[in-house]
Amino acid sequence: MATPGRALPQPTPETQFFWDGTKANELLLQRCDECSKVYFPPRPFCPVCASRNVSVTKASGKGVLYSYVIHHRPVPGFTPPYAIAVVELAEGPRMMTNIVECEQTPEALVLDMPVEVVFEPQTDTITLPLFRPASTTTAKG
């Protein structure tokens, strides 16, 4: 499961909830209580209206493949070629990720294809949110 050598995040007070969420297999975003904006990455105020009244909200984990590159150079923790992708979540925000359970080819990685989050533990404290092609009714093997 873990990919040795991969760069890992170190949570800060503002982002700890997000990484606690992925560890519990939940993808957590924030929503402004005043203007309703749903945003990412985490911060304790709304980037649109500056309100400090914001709430954590659980994302559906569904989205679409928005853009990507297929990297062909060696990086610790990765076996090239591998896609570095951006997904657009159903709730609106975009996030960088990797697409797993999928050939890392232009033919398999089609823009706007539905994807869903999978949680990949890296250490005792860090679990990364990755995405795979969305299953229809049953989980794919």
Binding site: A7, L8, P11, P41, S67, H71, V75, I84, V86
Partner: protein
């Protein structure tokens, strides 16, 4: 803001470009600065403002060059920092904070002497929300928006490859360009894959070098031995340190702020532009730049370049030094784009555009993180 009241009176690159093993990074700054001071007859005591970026600060350079400044600028937002230095310097001269400002750049990008590799801190936003997914520097990040652009506008990788082909034509005319042999679209498409859809020849060089600019008031510029190049308009902006968080993957918000701000200040129309530099760390950047600066409607720039409109003999000469793709790219390329604009306005470029009177020089910093635009003219106010 300044409009034709400030001029470039000194402009020079390092004596050598390419692989430079006998100077450290601060030495490259100094070599360029001494060349610029020599061509306009200035000594350190004549300079009262200094700007530079990245890990050589104004403190380092003021000390190293023997300058006692009344104004400094250490704005460091990537490769367009120098466009922004020019903007800030023009405002400083206009408002009397300094009379004669030196902007220096040196970068041991290839040999990495006195230029340690930078790392991404794991507590930063980049370190938490991008680095864990395997990017390694600009080739794997700056390129991420491109597939979305291509799908949105039906642009092909063959068209984007044409950017590199056309710029090599310009480089072939420039004795100081790193790569001068002509290339074909097939050469680009057969070069090594770096980060699909980007192949090696769609990515910038990695070299050593530097450059320096000296600015003073347009009034004082008349007394210098060099031909003054006037600053007509300037713009700057930033968007996000995270390429994944760009508002629009088909367009740069920082470009859309900096560019039009400079055009408005200059009071010119696009048809008035004789020469254009758009920072090309990767082949898609001139496409984004042409559209975000308003030269073309969205989605049309790739066909415009492939149609040879920016090539030698075309209506809008673009990146006439060969650009970051073929001329040189030490990591922060903006200084070299500015140098080519100044050469074109002085009439001293290797591939000189006959009769050029207005040059637009547009820079990017980070991965679409920042932008600066400078519009130059050689026409006295």
């Amino acid at each position: 803001m300044p409009h034709n009241t400030v001029a470039v009176v000194g402009a020079a690159e390092t004596t050598k470009l390419g692989v430079i093993t006998d100077l450290s990074q601060i030495g490259l700054h100094a070599d360029a600065a001494l060349n610029a001071m020599a061509e306009c007859g200035l000594k350190p005591k004549d300079i009262d403002g200094i700007a530079c970026a990245a890990n050589e600060t104004p403190v380092n350079l003021a000390h190293y060059l023997g300058i006692t400044p009344t104004w400094i600028d250490g704005t460091s937002v990537g490769g367009c920092s120098f466009m922004i230095h020019v903007r800030h310097a023009a405002a400083a001269i206009e408002s009397g904070l300094a009379k004669t400002i030196l902007i220096t750049h040196g970068e041991s990008g290839k040999s990495r002497i006195g230029n340690p590799m930078r790392s991404v801190h794991p507590q930063s936003l980049n370190g938490q929300f991008e680095q864990p997914f395997g990017p390694m520097g600009p080739p794997s990040m700056f390129t991420i928006p491109a597939l979305r652009y291509m799908k949105t506008y039906g642009v092909t990788v063959e068209q984007i490859a044409q950017v590199a082909v056309v710029q090599r034509e310009w480089a072939s005319k420039n004795p100081r360009a790193t790569f001068r042999n002509l290339i074909t679209t097939d050469d680009v498409l057969n070069s090594r894959m770096i980060a699909y859809p980007f192949r090696l020849l769609m990515c910038c060089l990695v070299t050593d070098g530097g450059g320096a600019l000296i600015l003073t008031s347009a009034e004082r510029a008349k007394d210098f031995p060099t031909k003054p190049v006037y600053i007509l308009g300037t713009g700057e902006s930033v968007e996000t340190p995270l390429v994944s968080q760009m508002e629009d993957f088909t367009s740069s918000r920082a470009f859309r702020v900096a560019g039009p701000t400079a055009f408005k200040e200059a009071g010119i129309a696009h048809k008035d532009v004789d020469h254009l530099m758009i920072y090309d760390a990767f082949a898609h950047l001139p496409i984004y730049g042409l559209e975000d600066l308003g030269f073309l409607p969205k989605g049309e720039a790739a066909a415009f370049i492939a149609g040879r409109n920016t090539a030698p003999g075309g209506s809008l000469p673009l990146n006439t030094n060969g650009g970051g793709l073929s001329y040189m790219h030490s990591g922060m390329y903006g200084m070299y784009a500015l140098q080519e604009s100044v050469r074109q306005m002085r009439g001293t470029a290797a591939a000189q555009i006959d009769g050029a009177k207005i040059s637009v020089c547009h820079g990017v910093g980070g991965m679409f993180a920042a932008s600066g635009t400078i519009i130059f003219s050689n026409q006295a106010p």
